[in-house]
């Protein structure tokens, strides 16, 4: 092969479009290209982040130590009860186990943990090599389940079987097993709803619970923020499912509709506009007049409370340009609207695991000239942020230092943030965070010694 050092990776072309410029379809939902420095994680990670917030479960990683270390207490998910989920348990496979198999070790690990922590629920995650050395997770788990008379659920999350989305699916399958009623049980429906795709980061699910309570909506269980074994078991009883994080939950919602006749609607509690619309949609879907009235009251009260605060920030932020690179598509869509609320236009938007339908919506929402890209890498993020003159980036931990090194402001939308971004409270936090970074005096210092600052420069 001749050496081509032009700096562009041609196989990535199909994953990038500019609105208005090219008509081609954006490619998404495939494996990352080798050597592209993808910002994505793996199947195991996808599964782990979805299931981890279940507070009273033992989360046991069957594999070598690294996978467990890097995901120990990985999310800022809060609990109102058990704290068991905040541990990282691993079978810590060693060379010998790779050669002779890790089955025995896994059985013994489950026995030891169940005895020590008296748990009712164990998730066993498979990592890359477990798929290769062929430990029969299913058999080991069901034997352990019988031995202890509790639920021991294998999560088929070998790292190489797909991308992070496959992990969401694996988590969905594990959850379906968990909520499945026994043969004899009759499901008695009630009027409650399940809330899917909120992981209670910094108490976000609690904020939404409070809204629903004020509207007279009964919440059955949240998947999976601050949830626990008993509550999850009751999931089939609900009348309606609402989904926040679609990427991780749409599969589960579809299955629950099929198996338990629970319809679902997609909602979003990011930003005032989406929060208000979602509360209305929930009330409408449940169809009770009193809820509709209470929803309007709540919206009016909360909007009045936060409106002037947001307007104050808007005045300072008007005209700035944002770049977005987050995990899921639905979050990205909400962010476009949320930025609009504070007077900011989105000039670049991308996700790790967005789906085709979501990219279509994004394409509709953004202005001409906005770059839309799937599974981006640092080189692309840098290039488009510079080209488009972005003043700030929304992203996770890995993207933050890049933004800062470019002299650009940054908003955390990562797993372990410590402030809620949901609902009206979250909208205020968001605006405040944008203000705190875009308008920080720090950028002024960059002008000393003749350095230009990204922010001051485009501002």
């Amino acid at each position: 092969m001749a050496e081509d050092l032009t700096g562009s990776i041609t196989e990535r072309d199909e994953f990038i479009v500019t609105k208005g410029k090219n008509k081609k379809q954006l490619k998404c939902d495939t494996d990352s290209s080798a050597g592209c420095v993808s910002q994505r994680a793996c199947v195991y990670c996808g599964a782990r982040v979805v299931l981890n917030p279940i507070t009273d479960a033992i989360h046991l990683v069957h594999g070598p130590i690294g996978c467990a270390t890097y995901t120990w207490d990985i999310r800022g998910s809060l609990s109102s009860g058990a704290e068991l989920y905040r541990n990282s348990f691993s079978t810590d496979l060693k060379e010998q186990d790779i050669i002779f198999g890790g089955a025995k070790k896994l059985s013994a690990a489950i026995d030891g943990l169940v005895e020590k922590y008296q748990a009712k629920l164990v998730f066993v995650y498979s990592t890359c090599i477990v798929g290769v050395i062929g430990d029969d997770l299913e058999a080991i788990c069901s034997a352990a389940s019988r031995r202890h008379n509790i639920e021991v659920i294998p999560v088929e999350s070998s790292g190489f079987i797909g991308n992070k989305s496959a992990g969401y699916r694996a988590a969905g399958d594990a959850l379906l097993r968990l909520i499945k009623p026994s043969e004899s049980a009759v499901i008695e429906k009630n009027n409650s709803i399940n809330y899917l795709g909120d992981f209670n980061l910094a108490g976000e699910a609690w904020i939404i619970h409070n809204y629903l309570r004020q509207m007279g909506v009964e919440l059955n269980v949240t998947f999976t923020g601050d949830s626990h074994y008993t509550a999850l078991k009751s999931a089939p009883k609900a009348k309606l499912n609402i989904i926040q994080c679609a990427g991780s939950m749409i599969y589960l919602a579809g299955k629950m509709e099929e198996l338990y006749q629970i319809p679902y609607i997609q909602i979003s509690f990011l930003g005032i506009e989406d929060t208000a619309a979602s509360l209305r949609n929930i009330a409408a879907a449940l169809g009770e007049e009193s809820m509709i009235v209470k929803a309007e009251e709540l919206i009016a009260k909360e909007t009045a409370r936060v409106d002037s605060i947001i307007k104050g920030y808007r005045a300072k932020l008007e005209g700035k340009k944002a770049a977005i690179f987050v995990g899921g598509g639905f979050k990205a869509i909400s962010l476009i609207k949320q930025f609009r609320e504070i007077g900011i236009d989105v000039v670049m938007i991308g996700t790790q695991t967005g789906r085709k339908e979501e990219y279509e919506i994004m394409n509709e929402l953004v202005d001409d000239g906005t770059v839309i890209l799937d599974d981006a890498n640092p080189a692309e993020l840098e290039r488009f942020m510079m080209e488009k003159g972005a003043n700030l980036l929304v992203g996770g931990v890995k993207e933050r230092p890049l933004a800062y090194k470019l002299g650009i402001a940054f908003i955390d939308h990562n797993h372990d943030r410590k402030h809620p971004l949901s609902g009206f409270e979250g909208a205020v936090n968001f605006a405040e965070e944008v203000y705190s970074t875009v308008c920080s005096p720090v950028w002024k210092s960059l002008n000393a010694l003749g350095m230009e600052s990204g922010v001051a420069n485009h501002g």
């Binding site: 494996d31 050597g35 130590i65 690294g66 270390t69 541990n87 810590d92 790292g159 890995k398």
Partner: protein, 459 residues
């Protein structure tokens, strides 16, 4: 006592909250200290993403690391295609001067022959001179600590040639902070010593803000220098705990006859003296007045705080080399090292630590290849009142109410891990102050209530 303990832990089936990371992580860190180098992690996407996130969080720097993104096909039919593609893409985007390839659990389990693959790649691309360094670092083979030194050794094995004798001293740097590395350079400059520092991530992982941003950062050990390390006058390796099999210094001695001085990280009076004395011994140079002054100031400070320190009972954990260094400081200052622990499995560690704590009034508990649940249990038993080590030790604060002095890698819940200075006479003083002040803070915080509880109503 330590032996018995070791036995228990060798046969444990589950690791409860890991105190170590996996081998390729160490490989990445080592390679980040080489000029204009890029790393490819050969395995599924997740491994590299996790490690990047960990490193980025600690250093607050962009950490671009490629992955061969092995998928199902690559796992079944071999990952050669992916690895070649990764090499192509990394070269296109980054134009590195050296590429390091570290393997993962997955690549090792499916038996990838990376040396053959890369050899063929270089021939096919007519670039036989280009340095590609391969290191086999299965995550189940050891911890990140071994991965670090082993990768350094692999780089030497593939780059270093028989060179003409020169006056330089090879200084082999363990995983200390960029600030520490800079301090060592400062001391060497004061002594007017010529050296090759290997690796040197003091700039690459702690680079100054500058415009324009470049994908690769400046700094790092020069490749030409690495090639000529075989001609050095001597090697000083700060790796007293490591085994010969992974010792870069040992390799240089055996292969090129470079005399090896294996010393501890210069932390504390004795270890820093050893460093300075070794330099004197090798070069015949005099110790400059300013260094003597620094030493005097450290002694002065040690006297100031010695009585406070006597109330300290510490648990020290993390990478063996760092733990040994801190143990020396504690022992020298009367902070009793009640528990000395590492997640790595290093044979020499036990013996070295035992010698370091020989004069302590009580016997220390030494834990090897351990996890945080064992460390917590031992700490409670040992009535520990201060913890010293990386961020994950916050578990000890949360569960055991033991205040934590953050040190080592990774520090992901505070800023400034890269700026912590703890080596040399000056760094030792700074670390010691952090330790003493944490003890004092805790004492002042609670002495009113604890005295009340203990004595009120009794007399």
């Amino acid at each position: 006592m330590a032996e018995k303990n070791k036995e228990n832990i060798f046969f444990r089936n589950v690791n409860e909250n890991p105190c170590n990371m996996c081998m390729p992580m160490g490989g990445i860190l080592a390679l980040k200290g080489i000029e204009q180098s890029m790393v490819i992690v050969h395995g599924s996407q997740g491994c590299s993403t996790y490690m990047r996130r960990h490193i980025a969080e600690h250093f607050n720097e962009p950490v671009d690391v490629g992955s061969s993104s092995l998928n199902e096909k690559g796992t079944i039919y071999g990952g050669e295609k992916n690895l070649r593609q990764a090499l192509d893409n990394i070269r296109k985007v980054y134009h590195p001067a050296l590429i390091g390839i570290v393997t993962t659990c997955l690549a090792e389990t499916i038996g990838e022959d990376i040396e053959r693959i890369t050899g063929q790649y270089l021939i096919d691309n007519e670039m036989e001179e280009f340095p590609i360094v391969t290191a086999s670092t299965p995550g189940y083979g050891g911890s990140h600590f071994e991965g670090y030194f082993f990768t350094l050794k692999r780089i030497l094995m593939q780059l270093t040639e028989a060179a003409e004798k020169n006056n330089k001293i090879n200084i082999i740097i363990p995983n200390i902070s960029p600030a520490d590395i800079r301090e060592i350079k400062r001391m060497l400059a004061l002594m007017q010593i010529e050296y090759v520092l290997y690796p040197d991530f003091s700039d690459t992982l702690d680079r100054p803000f500058a415009k324009p941003y470049t994908k690769m950062s400046n700094g790092g050990t020069k490749i030409t220098e690495i090639r000529s390390m075989g001609g050095a006058a001597a090697t000083i390796q700060m790796g007293i705990t490591i085994e010969d099999g992974i010792s870069p210094g040992k390799y240089l001695e055996e292969e090129f006859g470079v005399p090896l001085y294996n010393i501890a990280i210069p932390m504390g009076v004795e270890s820093t003296d050893a460093f300075i004395n070794t330099l004197v011994e090798i070069t015949g140079k005099k110790v400059p007045e300013s260094i003597k002054q620094e030493r005097g100031r450290l002694l002065d400070g040690m006297i100031d705080s010695h009585k406070y320190n006597f109330q300290g009972r510490s648990v020290i954990f993390g990478e063996p080399e760092m733990v040994y260094g801190v143990t020396k400081i504690c022992a020298e200052n009367g902070v009793f090292p009640a528990v000395v622990a590492t997640g790595s499995q290093i044979g020499k560690f036990n013996q070295l630590v035992t010698a370091a704590v020989a004069e302590c009034p009580e016997e220390s508990k030494i834990l090897i290849e351990t996890d945080f649940s064992h460390i917590l249990a031992a700490s409670k038993e040992g009535k520990v009142n201060i913890a010293i080590g990386p961020s994950d030790g916050r578990y000890l604060t949360e569960k055991g109410d033991i205040p934590l002095v953050r040190l080592g890698f990774p520090i992901h819940d505070r800023v400034g891990g890269q700026r912590l200075l703890s080596v040399g006479y000056t760094g030792t003083m700074m670390l010691l102050d952090r330790i003493t002040n944490t003890l004092l803070e805790n004492k002042y915080k609670s002495y009113r209530s604890s005295m009340y509880e203990e004595f009120y109503q009794q007399g």
